[in-house]
Every structure is written in C-alpha cells, then in structure tokens.
Symmetry: C2
Subunit: 374 residues, 2 copies
C-alpha cells in the first residue's frame, strides 16, 4: 500500500467566539507541548494531585472525588448516568435544549425510567414544574438538569432545583459544561451531587477532558449499587484506583498526559485571576457585547434574568442568509461564531464570550466584523 | 474559598522505555501547540479526512470506517464491544495477559456470554484451542483476542485466528494497541473486522486517542442490531455522523482538536518513514537490545518466535530489588521502564522500544544505565 502524500497540518489562526472551543491562551498551548512523562511517574502523580485541588477550587467544593475524565464532556455526562442510575430507577430529566435531550438519551440507555419536564428552548427550567414532577413521583431517585444550556444560552436555578430534589431524597446530576468558571457555580453550597463539565468553554483549555465532581451522597449511591456499572471505561470504582489516592495508583488506562498539562495550566490561570474575578469579567463583557448588539437591532433569545454572559444567542435578522454570514465571518475575518442547534437551527446565532475569549478586544472585533458583513 | 497557590507544571525530561507512553517527537509536541480551531471548521474537517486516510495506511486497510475515537485505547476497546456484541451473544475471548482479561470484562458488561480460551502469560494464543472452542460453540458470534499483549510482550497469530472465526461465520475483534506500526498488521489481508489501537505506543503521539477501523461485515452486524447500543458516547451510529463523511458533519461531541493535530503529525511521520521501514526498524532494534540483555545474563519471558520487538519482557534477576532498580533508573538516569502487571507483577521488567523511542541511542543509554544499577 502506497504511503499517502500528506504533509503537516498548519491550522488557520481563528478568533473563536462560538459555543466552544473558545480561544486557548498561548500558556496552555505551551504547556501541552512540554515533554511527555509516564502516567505513573511520581512527577506526574504530583501534578494530578494539584489538578484535583485546582478543580475543587473551580467547582467550589471540598469533594474528595473531583478529577478530570480522560474524554470529552459527553463522556463525563455518561459517567454520571452509568454510575448513579440503575435499571428501573426513576429519573426526572429537565429538557430545555439539546443537552437536556442528551441527558434523557443517557437515562434510557442505562435502563432508567425517565420523567421528562419540558420547557421552551431559551427558557430556564421551570422550578414549579420540577416540584410538581416530584410530587407526582416522590420515588424518583435522581434529578438531572443542565445549569447552562449551551444550545440556547439559558441559565437555570441550580440551587433551587437541587433543594427540591433533596427534599425528596433524590440525587442531583448537573451539566455544568458551559457554566464552570463563567458564572457562579457553588457545588457544595448548592448541594449538587454529580457535576460534569468540559476542559474547554470558560476554562480555555483545549477540548478533550471532562472535569467531574461527586458528593459523598453520590458515592454512597454508587457503593450501594446492586448491579455492575455497564461501562468498564467509565466505572468510577475502577477510575478511582488511578485518580483516588496519590499513595497507591493502580493502572486503569493511560492518561492523556499532555492534555492534562494543558488543563493544569488553564486552572492555574483561573486561580491567578481568582474565580470571582473570572465571573465578573464574563458578566461585564456580556454587557458590552449586549449593548453593541442592541445598538445594531439584534434581539436576544433568552430573557435578561436568565441569560448566560458567556453564551449570547440572538435571532438572525429577517432576510439575512445564516450560512453566508457565518462563512464570510470565517473566511474574511477568521472569526468563528456558532450556528443554531436543534429547534433553533437556522434561526439564531450563538456568540461565545468564554474564558480567554471573553475580552474587550474580541468584542470590538466581533462587533466591527458583524457590522461590515450585515 | 481561597485560590490554591499552585504554579505551572514543568515536567522532568525522561527517556520513556516502558510499555507506554513512549517518547513523543518534538514535531508532534509542536503540532499539538498550534492554535485551536473549531471542530466544525472547514480547515479542521480537511485535516480529519487526511487523518482517516493516514490511519487507513497505518492499518493497511481500505475500510471507510477508520477514525480515531476521542478517548484512550480502553474506550476504543469498549466501542468495539458495545457496538458489535448484543446481550446473549456468545463471544470466544482469548486470555493470555491483562488485556485479554479486560476484553472478557467488556463482554460481561454488555451481557455477552463469554467462552474463555486461556493461555499462559507470555505464551501466544493457542490456535488449536480456539479451533476447539469454535467446534464446541459453532454458534459463537465473535472472536476477541489481543494481537500484541502489552502485559507480556507476546505476539499472537492474528491471521490464523481470524481465519478460524470466519470459517464459523463469526466476527473478529482484535486489540492492536501495541502492534500498530511496530509489527506487521494487515487489517484487510487478515480480515480483521474491528480493530482498536492507541495514539501512543508505536505511533508516538501523546496518549488519549484510540484509532479504530471496522470492516463492512462489522457494519452489517451493527446495522442488524435489535437493541440500542448501551453507550451514547461510543455509539457508532452517532459517532459516524461526525466522522463519517466530510460533506455533512453533524455535531456529536467536541473533538479533542489539538490532540488530533498531534495524531495527524505522528501519522505523517509514519508515512514519511514508510510503514515497512518502521516495522524493520523495530525488528532491528529489538535484536540489538536482546543481544545486550543476553550478554548481561537477562532471560526473556516470551519465546523468540512470538516475541514483540517493541516490548521486551525479561525476568528480574534473583536477589534484585524490583522497585529499587526502577526508582534508581528514574531518579538517576531519568529513564522509565515498565514494571510487571497482574500475574507477572514483581517478576519481570518490560522494556519498550516503541515508535520514536525505538532508537539506537535509547538502547545504548538503557544498557549502560542498567549495567550501572545492577
């Protein structure tokens, strides 16, 4: 067989203002290019312990079981469901966008019995509907919802939702892929039991890892399982042997060493800025982008109170060609913005102001490019 | 919560001669540090197509469905089992080391009925035993074996094993994590139906991705499933929407963009060298290391005919302290070698000569360091 005549790939230099990936700072890219060491190397094990501590800070939790899963956010989601839901368990799933729908799919694939609470795309999860769902199903074992819906830009009230679940003795699984580091997320204060996120979005590492954190209640549920976890790769009982305690690491899989260097660096940058300052920066920059959009006559999909500062979804103006505008932004300005997904496909654009990409420079550039193209 | 006082991680510069990760060439590290682009960016989609073509060359296959899974080799393994084995399917699983055992675990977790063919650790899979297992279980749907057992350094006869399976109309799942690019692996000629590997080992990319390839027979079995695939993240029907055709990509998960840059570069390096030359280099360097070891009186675990050139397993000499030797090699020489796993823990050392790390320079250094320490 002939060897293909293919040369090194040199990517274009984009400005990433879609729903993720967002711009990755040079410090993180440099960290990823450092020499690979073994995944059981004592130096690496020390870095793993630091990463766990830095993630606890990002999640605002003391949970011992806080670590990055060696795969994207979708795998972090699946880890929560395969470990915490057993066949026959009733799960109340809130669906107000693509990612709630993906949670529902996960419930079905583990043999759970889903009770779906639906809200409009662009609206937050309705707390009253969740209360009613629990009243009708007091035996529900788990409540699952998305804190920050990446497909719409809506924020739901994670604290209020978790409080209802706990009143009924249910565990809480929360998708915090887009919220982590972008808006307040208080895992311990709000009593979220199983939380997954991504290395990208507001952390600004490259994509490919999924930070997760589990409460003692979640671990108790895991220990009380009557059936084995259906996934070997995502079985927390096994993953814990590697990530659990620095003293005795047992081999589970070969960790993605260099991507973990990148995650570590992105978390060091977050700690240097201070998470409250990161939240404030995201909030302030949203206001600046919003004012620019409103001056151009663009309308937001999500009501102001529930809007994510890091993901700004606006309706495409009448008569404007969605794909043509995005193609011009990409080709003439090297600017990536996001298309609509699912129910909102073709109707909206999604502008990310996430992590390192949430900057005045990017906002100025985006507003100026958009004015020229529209 | 106080921000942790943790600074950037600067790894030590090791020489990696264990069972993986192996040394990553600077070109791959540089590629990983290039600017992140979106996972639906046309430039990135072009790179994905190139990666598929380069992987087909590495696997020596024309299989359309050839791609990297966005997670380590263990997830590639699980992808094969969750898609190709349905509850109740009989699976003949060959176990002659750790990774055959892991395949068995995967069969159980998808509800398959395992028929185990066992061989000694260090021996290849016994073709006659597999023939007998099929004769006793002609209704077996799948044969699963490890081509190159990373825990022992033994090579099994993949072609002969696949021929038996096809005689009985069964599919073949082969673990080629350590064989890919290190020894001949002819996916089409040998008619292997589902093959998974890792981005590390003899490809010398960083760990974290799992190249896989599926034959038309495997896809037919997937299409004929009566039940949904139990994993959402690893469901080939969904993953195909993203990796399948360059013309129409649908979002499944956010691809690990920068690690894929690295894999692409490592495959370009392989194509430049030529895969036959890569096989020959691994074979030649094994001879050099073997001669050095034998001159020192070290004994190999695996019989010469079945020995993997890229993974050299030798017995620890009597009276030598396993952990102390490995610690001295690491601390004084920055040289990582592998410990024994499972049945061989404490009894053997594993010396990798994989990919970029399979070099005369590394062999000289390793032999010299080992002489000083022993």
């Amino acid at each position: 067989m002939q060897a293909p005549d293919i040369t090194s790939f040199i990517p274009p230099l984009r400005t990433l203002m879609g729903p993720g990936p967002s711009d990755v700072p040079q410090r993180v890219l440099d960290a990823m290019a450092r020499p690979t060491v073994g995944h059981l190397d004592p130096a690496f094990v020390g870095m793993m312990e630091e990463t766990k501590e830095l993630l606890r800070y990002a999640f605002q939790t003391e949970n011992a079981l806080t670590m990055p899963v060696s795969a994207p956010g979708s795998a972090g989601m699946e880890m929560c469901f395969v470990n915490l839901v057993e066949a026959g368990d009733k799960v109340i799933v809130c669906k107000n966008g693509v990612f709630g729908g993906r949670m529902l799919e996960n419930v079905k694939r583990v043999g759970g019995v889903p009770i779906v609470v639906e809200d409009a795309w662009g609206a937050p999860v309705d707390v009253a509907k969740v209360e009613a769902a629990f009243a009708a199903n007091p035996d529900a074992k788990v409540l699952a919802f998305v804190h920050a819906e990446t497909s719409t830009g809506a924020r739901s009230d994670a604290q209020a939702l978790a409080a209802i679940a706990h009143k009924y003795g249910a565990l809480v699984i929360a998708d915090c892929v887009t919220s982590l580091a972008g808006i307040p997320l208080m895992v311990d204060e709000w009593e979220l039991d199983a939380v997954y996120s991504g290395s990208q979005k507001c952390l600004s590492c490259t994509p490919g890892l999924s930070p997760v954190t589990f409460s003692e209640r979640a671990i108790a549920k895991l220990k009380a399982r009557k059936t084995p976890v259906q996934s070997w790769f995502l079985d927390l009982n096994l993953v814990l042997g590697y990530w659990g305690s620095a003293g005795k690491r047992t081999y589970h899989h070969t960790a993605p060493v260099n991507t973990l260097y990148g995650l570590h660096e992105s978390l060091v940058i977050l700690a240097e800025e201070g998470i409250e300052h990161s939240w404030a920066r995201h909030a302030d920059n949203h206001v600046m982008l919003r004012d620019g959009f409103e001056a151009m006559g663009l309308k937001f999909v999500v009501e102001e109170n529930y809007r994510l500062p890091q993901l700004n979804t606006v309706y495409i103006p009448d008569g404007v060609d969605d794909a043509a505008v995005r193609a011009r932004l990409l080709n003439e300005f090297n600017l990536e913005i996001g298309a609509g997904l699912g129910d909102l496909a073709g109707k909206v654009w999604r502008f990310g102001l996430m992590g390192h990409a949430s900057s005045v420079k990017n906002i100025d550039y985006c507003l100026s490019a958009l004015k020229q193209v529209l």
